[in-house]
Homo-oligomer: 448 residues x 2
């Protein structure tokens, strides 16, 4: 917390930077999507729909109160894709920037990796970082588009159509936007394991966090002896661990139900893809409403955890979840500190990870109570929508369009909080406190 | 955590003391309830029922897979009341003892209050404490029984019957056992505000924590200038705050539903009593299934929070909840430490309170996922049962008897964990770790 306190002395506090960017992006998005050329004249378009769609696009969630297909024109689709790109990459850039540049205690090595230095806490440093992220993400999208497009020649006789589908799918997956032009997500490719595999790869590259991508690039193309940072190790292992854990969980919980009469490879790919998409993607190869309540609850948990920090995803973030689990384990063993990969985790990060989880649980639970009072849906439908919005995942059991205005406002707020992250949200809400110079005697309290 | 580590050097670790007591109490309870004189010969009595009833009684929860009324004989009722008394008071005594005696950093004043000294970490100290608690609780029960019994002469022409009902109700309320001999909890007294008021008072005295009772006694009868400890202030304010917050919440959430056509005083008492009973009591003046899902979810939250530490109740405890909220507020304002009533809260207690909440949420959520897979009930029914068991409250939407064996085992485990508390549970699960003498460099991680 020492660092956060110091940050507040800057005019540009990290919370302010991110929140300001978000509000500007949403406002621009509302204006762009409200342009007459973007919308079909017959489609209804209220302010709450415009706000909902814009927040959903800027936070790359993908939930929608309207039918994207029936509301927008082809130029409208392109505008939406553009917003997705900048919504995802913008906050990814800013949160990486805040972490890298303002937190001066970070090692020289990480700084060198991202080609930034001590004095770059200014606009040119930010532009540099944005350029790097843009190049990397667009490179991934082009590679994905080429692979998917070429492969899709199998489905579309017309090569232009094949590459259009390939590139759109690649952009949607990499930004974790969750939108589609098939009209039914990836359900048409439910038995095409190659397309699914490429999509999972792209979803992962978008959601695993920019610092990891940079380190991976360094390792692959520049320096084979590169030692990965603690952050990269923790987030990658957690990310892949959750992918495996999610797949096994979904398979087990629905084994007597959805997977009952399916061959093993089909079951496996259904589970793997749906596990992967809960990180923040929101694409799906099936109608998730076919799963049992138990599996849906499990998916709520996965969506709640969400993606890595400094990525295009939301939720409490993988590192938060990992530190929670590890610290609880160490706490039960009576250890004083948390050691990982021969590094000691900073106590402030541990406390922060615990606070983030509790605040997130509180926000999601209170939202669920309010929605249960105002909306006519079942508890699992509401909980799924809430987790999906907070995790900026975009999966839904189909209630989004039928929410009341109050309900839509709550989902908007959840997408916003999920995307900017709980820490930024808390710092935005809190006012600066002048640290007292005096000290009171310490007194103990019985806990739990 | 420094302290917990040190405690482990004693042969009698606090976790071991409490868990051992719990297991002995459950075993004795199974044996006593299985005596032929305790049960009606025609009633079914399987091992899982015996285990469930015993755990429920020892943890003063009050959930039951069988009909208490149809299964036990009159001697059986008395045995059950006896188990409730020792289940509630036993763990209350032990957890107070552990806190007071083993944590030597506690002030001299608290020590003097409870007439214990530095060297009393032995059996005679424990017996002393138990004696004090017993005297205090039995005094409360007798006072409550006399008031209720005398008042009930209005309902029962026979004075013996009136006092039997009065005393049983007083014991059930004070121990927060939640059992009744009316066959329908306090529903017959749904419009008798005096009986409800006395019950709320008794429930509160049982659930507000033994240290608070002792301080209150000192203040009232011995020393008017007594300065209440930080613990007493935090837990009392939180307890009363939750009572008010719960009442208002229930009134608001069901205003268009259950309270629609009721006069204000009736609505108020329904809400007040049901709010009060979620602290851990489990008695009720209505069938809670009449509430809407939203109110039931809100009650799940209240039950999850539960009672004060060192009381007859369960849940994460009021102090844990209070420290969570206060610390989150301070965290958002960038403060380094938590100051309350001119005292500084120990950092280890803050971390502990955060860990307790997260572990409790995880345990309840995982239990809900498993029960959703194995039981045929709705999500709200399951969540309510889980929260009720963890908060050792004993309210139910009526599914307890129809749970599968696996379902019963999960509820048993939840009552156990809720009663002994998350901290004791974690220390029970964890193995001692030898603290390393070396130190690794600290490295930061991006959180949320
Ligand atoms: K998404
Ligand atoms: K109870």
């Amino acid at each position: 917390m020492r660092i956060d306190v110091r940050l507040r002395k800057h005019k540009l506090s990290p919370a302010k930077i991110i929140v300001t960017y978000y509000f500007i992006a949403v406002t621009v998005s509302i204006l762009l999507l409200s342009l007459p050329l973007a919308r079909r004249p017959e489609a209804e378009w209220t302010f709450i729909d415009a706000l909902f769609t814009s927040v959903s696009a800027v936070s790359v969630t993908g939930l929608s109160t309207i039918s994207i297909k029936d509301t927008f024109t082809t130029p409208g689709y392109f505008i939406l894709a553009f917003i997705l790109q900048f919504g995802g990459i913008g906050i990814m850039t800013l949160s990486t920037f805040v972490w890298l540049v303002l937190r001066r205690r970070i090692g020289l090595k990480e700084r060198r990796l991202i080609m930034t230095d001590q004095n770059q806490s200014n606009l040119s440093g930010l532009v540099n970082l944005l350029k790097q992220i843009l190049i990397l993400i667009i490179a991934i999208e082009i590679a994905g588009g080429l692979i998917l497009g070429t492969y899709m020649l199998k489905y579309f006789p017309d090569w232009q159509e094949a590459y259009l589908h390939g590139f759109f799918a690649s952009v949607s997956a990499t930004t974790n936007g969750g939108f589609d032009i098939t009209g039914q997500s990836l359900i048409p490719f439910a038995k095409d394991y190659f397309i699914q595999f490429i999509n999972i790869l792209l979803l992962t590259l978008g959601a695993i966090g920019f610092p990891v991508l940079i380190e991976l690039k360094t390792y692959l193309f520049h320096e084979k002896r590169h030692r990965f940072t603690l952050f990269a190790k923790v987030t990658s292992i957690t990310f892949l661990g959750l992918l495996a854990f999610g797949t096994i969980g979904i398979l087990l919980l629905d084994s007597q139900h959805f997977f009952k009469d399916k061959p093993w490879h089909e079951s496996f790919f259904y589970a793997l893809f749906q596990s992967s998409t809960t990180r923040s993607g929101g694409l799906s190869t099936m109608d998730v409403a076919q799963f049992s309540d138990s599996t849906l609850l499990f998916m709520c948990l996965l969506m709640f955890i969400g993606a890595s920090p400094s990525s295009v995803g939301g939720g409490i973030r993988t590192t938060t979840f990992a530190l929670n689990l590890l610290f609880i384990y160490h706490f039960a063993r009576g250890a004083k500190s948390l050691k990982l990969f021969k590094r000691e985790v900073h106590e402030a990060d541990i406390i922060k990870s615990l606070v983030v989880t509790i605040v997130a649980v509180m926000i999601c639970f209170v939202s669920t109570i309010i929605l249960a009072a105002t909306e006519p849906f079942t508890l699992i439908e509401i909980l799924f929508e809430v987790s999906s919005a907070f995790g900026t995942t975009g999966l839904s059991l189909g209630i989004t369009a039928d929410l009341s205005t109050l309900g839509k406002c709550i989902i908007i707020l959840l997408m916003f909080i999920g995307r900017i992250g709980i820490v930024t949200f808390l710092l935005m809400m809190g006012k600066k406190e002048i640290e007292a110079n005096y000290k009171y005697p310490t007194e103990r309290i019985i806990i739990g």
